[in-house]
Amino acid sequence: MTEIELRVNGSLRTVATQPDRSLLAVLREDLRLTGTKYGCGEGECGSCTVLLDGEAVRSCQVSVSEVGSRSVTTVEGLAKDGRLNPVQQAFVELGSFQCGYCTPGMVVRATALLRSNPMPSREEIRRGLEGNLCRCCGYAGILRAIERAVELAQGARRDL
């Protein structure tokens, strides 16, 4: 067991863990941040996507000791003061989920995409989200939500 300090959603958390456990396992089991989902543990589905210093990564593929001083943002950390970010707002507005299990990963990945490319083309959205699976296959609705999020972010000049 090692004590590891993590900066998660703006606060400092200390966990006693084996250092090679995945960030995903520590977030879910130790910190009870269960919004980040397990879909495969093999880097193939994107359900476990979180932001490390703003960059979208698959938390099942990162060991907790590799995180270092980078700040971790999970889906729980996207809304500010109870206000959904434009991507979250667009998913709700358009009802772009069925079981919703893929949604946190989609929302986190799309948030990172729009931060680096605020006006993505449809093709860029598709390519950006290629690594995130939705087994309910709601891709058409997810695409509409992200296009709507672009509008919302532009209209309100809101930061993501």
Partner: protein, 702 residues
């Protein structure tokens, strides 16, 4: 949802008069629709049993309704909320729905076969309408006016002459009133002209913020993690097991009971590592490989009669086939495929003295409760199954096996235990959509009119077996086989196979007769609703204005299942090396009255997109009883790049009760794509998936 106290006994196993509705729900009005056993059906003919429904109106004017159906991500909750709000005449944000809790909800067979709307809409419509009538009665008592002068609207009972109103809350205050209501035969939405049903507030803030607690997120205090020892192949039996290495581990509990071996540990990783330390030997049985599977299925029919069998024979199909100027005789095959719910199977079990609660994402909570009770030697009264929010099922989450295992582990560890499959376990130890082999011999006259139709399905199941086409001389039947891999329920399983075979065969006949495939279907269809759906699809797709370009093709297919109708047009591009790109899918769909258009559209889009996977590339590969591709990197499911342009035409029939929408939209996808491949290349593929290795297969393996 409100937190409700646990009743003394499950309500479905308690006579209505003994159910402590008002202790659990507080004062108010309860409307009760009694259940019905199959033998009680009036007018003869078997009707499925139902557990009825109940609904409570509280002094704040809020309603809470109970149904045994489970929400496993298909959006039933939103549509059923509309039904309750429409019948009770309250705004949908005052309606709460309790689903899939075996202590509180009416008994139900299960959430499968697109039965949610056909079963639950009339049941909930009955209690909602019955409660409304009772509320009007209470207002009549209170005002001394006849009920004919009263109307219920928007959460209150109003005097028609404008002389005031009393809210539902006021009417039920300080009362414990139980009324029994009669069953509606079917439910259709309130006709337009009255207030049209409103839609429930947009759900999902909890989804997009990660706050929704799915089964695999549950964390009762003191939770420990379980893991199981699995056989290396289907049919293998545990011969010996050596637990010494595990027994030395601190903090690990081992449970061994016959062939059941499981461990409990403080983290999931520790539990899995402990299982890895177990030394076991297995006796394996001979299992067929992919090459021999078809012969195996043909040679191993299940004996006896099964519910999943159907037959339709008329005239003399052999003679008619012999006379027909245009004939085909072909065999069509569909592969084993996996459900791959994004949330793998999981269960959490917690004991409270002799009583057990199991949270498990099951589509059949009551059956799961009974299996768990039986498996653990308990009475059903001791077991409560709760279906938490679930990351989809697609027919893969039936029963309660994981619940039994979790309960055994929790009993031994004296702590709550969560058992959750890894993705690999999910692939290896779940069950699959059955593989099917379908033999078709059929003939037409020179104009393309069907004159002979022999259709024999092996192991694919009976749904949508019967053709929606008119043909006098026919023989249609199915048989089941002893499968070499575990097989079971799957979203639209049999209808997908039967429709693929039928709609491909119809296309082959059209080609052989030199008739346009659309004209061929129009000429032979025996169902006006299906013809209307077909017309909508081809019109939307501009079928007639298709311009032939080398490498491009279009194809169409229709389907009818469980009283829902679909027609799909697929447009594709095939590259020189045989890769298929799906450019556009146009789907027209009709399932009676549309209750919740947004939800319906998303079901249709999702189902057609999911259908692309089984049509083009999904297949479970296996060898000697074990799965060869148990990872998402090896078993490909549809991704963003597979998404074509989707056009969805919803056909509304407000005069007809809503039928199921979760399955039928996908059943015409595969044959439409297969027919488009043939249109583009002249190559006929008679096997699903159509492009198993990413390309149209060579002549030997079509």
């Amino acid at each position: 949802m409100r937190d409700l106290a646990r009743p003394r006994r499950p309500w479905d196993r308690t006579p209505p008069a003994d159910r402590e509705y008002f202790d659990v729900l507080g004062p108010g009005l309860v409307a009760l629709l009694p259940g019905r056993r199959p033998d009680e059906s009036a007018g003869g003919g078997w009707r499925p049993p139902t557990g009825g429904a109940w609904l409570h109106v509280d002094p704040q004017g809020n309603a809470i309704a109970f149904t045994g159906k489970a929400e496993v991500g298909q959006g039933t909750r939103a549509a059923l909320t509309v039904v309750v709000s429409d019948g009770l005449r309250v705004s949908p944000d005052r309606v709460d729905l309790v689903m899939g809790d075996t202590d509180l909800c009416p008994w139900d067979m299960g959430t499968f076969g697109s039965r949610s709307m056909p079963d639950a809409a009339p049941a909930l419509g009955s209690v909602a309408g019955g409660a409304r009538t009772a509320l009007i009665g209470l207002a009549a008592e209170r005002t001394g006016r006849p009920t004919s002068e009263l109307d219920a609207e928007d959460g209150e009972v109003r005097l028609r002459d404008g002389g005031g109103a009393i809210s539902y809350g006021d009417l039920v205050r300080d009362r414990n009133r139980l009324v029994t209501v009669a069953a509606l035969e079917s439910w259709v939405p309130t006709p337009k002209g009255r207030s049209p049903p409103a839609f429930p507030p947009k759900p999902g803030a909890d989804i997009v913020t990660g706050a929704r607690v799915y089964g695999s997120d549950l964390h009762p205090s003191g939770l420990l993690y379980g893991a199981l020892l699995h056989p290396p192949a289907y049919g293998a039996r545990l011969a010996s097991v050596d637990l010494t290495a595990v027994e030395r581990l601190a903090d690990v509990t081992i449970v061994r009971d016959g062939s059941f071996v499981g461990v409990v540990a403080p983290t999931l990783r520790a539990a899995r590592a402990a299982v890895g330390e177990i030394r076991a030997t297995w006796d394996r049985t001979n299992q067929p490989d992919e090459d021999s599977i078809e012969g195996y299925l043909r040679a191993h029919p299940m004996e006896g009669d099964f519910w999943d069998q159907e037959e339709d024979t008329a005239g003399d199909v052999d003679a008619a086939y012999g006379r027909a100027p245009v004939t085909i005789a072909q065999t069509y095959r569909t592969a084993f495929i996996a459900h791959v719910p994004l949330e793998t199977r999981s269960a959490v079990a917690e004991w409270d003295g002799p009583r057990l609660t199991v949270w498990v994402g099951t589509q059949t909570p009551f059956r799961a409760r009974d299996t768990i009770a039986e498996g653990l030697g308990l009475t059903p009264e001791q077991v409560r199954v709760i279906v938490p929010p679930t990351g989809a099922g697609f027919g893969g989450k039936h029963g309660g096996d994981l619940g039994i295992a979790a309960a055994r582990l929790a009993r031994a560890a004296h702590r709550p235990v969560r058992l959750a499959y890894s993705r690999e376990e999910e692939f290896r130890f779940a069950y699959f959509r059955p593989m099917s082999v379908i033999d078709v011999r059929a003939g037409t006259d020179r104009e393309g009119r069907l004159v002979a139709w022999a259709f024999h399905n092996i192991n694919g199941g009976s749904a949508a077996l019967l053709a929606p086409y008119r043909v006098t001389d026919r023989r249609v039947d199915n048989e089941l086989s002893l499968s070499p891999l575990p097989q079971g329920s799957y979203r639209a399983l049999a209808a997908t196979a039967n429709n693929f075979a039928r709609e491909t065969a119809i296309d082959e006949l059209a080609r052989a007769a030199g008739v346009d495939p659309l004209a061929m279907r129009r000429m032979n269809l025996d169902d006006d609703r299906l013809r209307a759906v077909l017309d909508r699809a081809v019109e939307r797709a501009d079928w007639h204005r298709w311009s032939r370009v080398p490498g491009r093709g279009h194809g169409l297919a229709v389907g009818l299942e469980k009283d829902s109708r679909v027609a799909t047009v697929a447009e594709i591009t095939v590259s020189e090396d045989g890769r298929v790109r799906l450019d556009r899918l146009v789907t027209a769909f009709e399932a009676g009255a549309i209750v919740h258009p947004e939800n319906l559209r998303s079901q249709v889009e999702g189902a057609t997109t999911m259908g692309i996977g089984g049509a083009l590339f999904e297949a479970v590969r296996f060898e000697a009883g074990s799965v060869k591709n148990p990872h998402l990197a090896q078993y490909r499911v549809p991704r963003f790049s597979d998404l074509p342009e989707l056009v969805v035409e919803l056909v509304d029939r407000p005069d007809l009760p809503p039928s199921g929408a979760g399955e039928t939209p996908m059943i015409a996808v595969a044959p439409a794509i297969g027919n488009a491949i043939c249109d583009a290349t002249g190559t006929r593929v008679r096997r699903l998936p159509l492009t198993p290795d990413g390309r149209i297969p060579g002549p030997d393996s079509r």
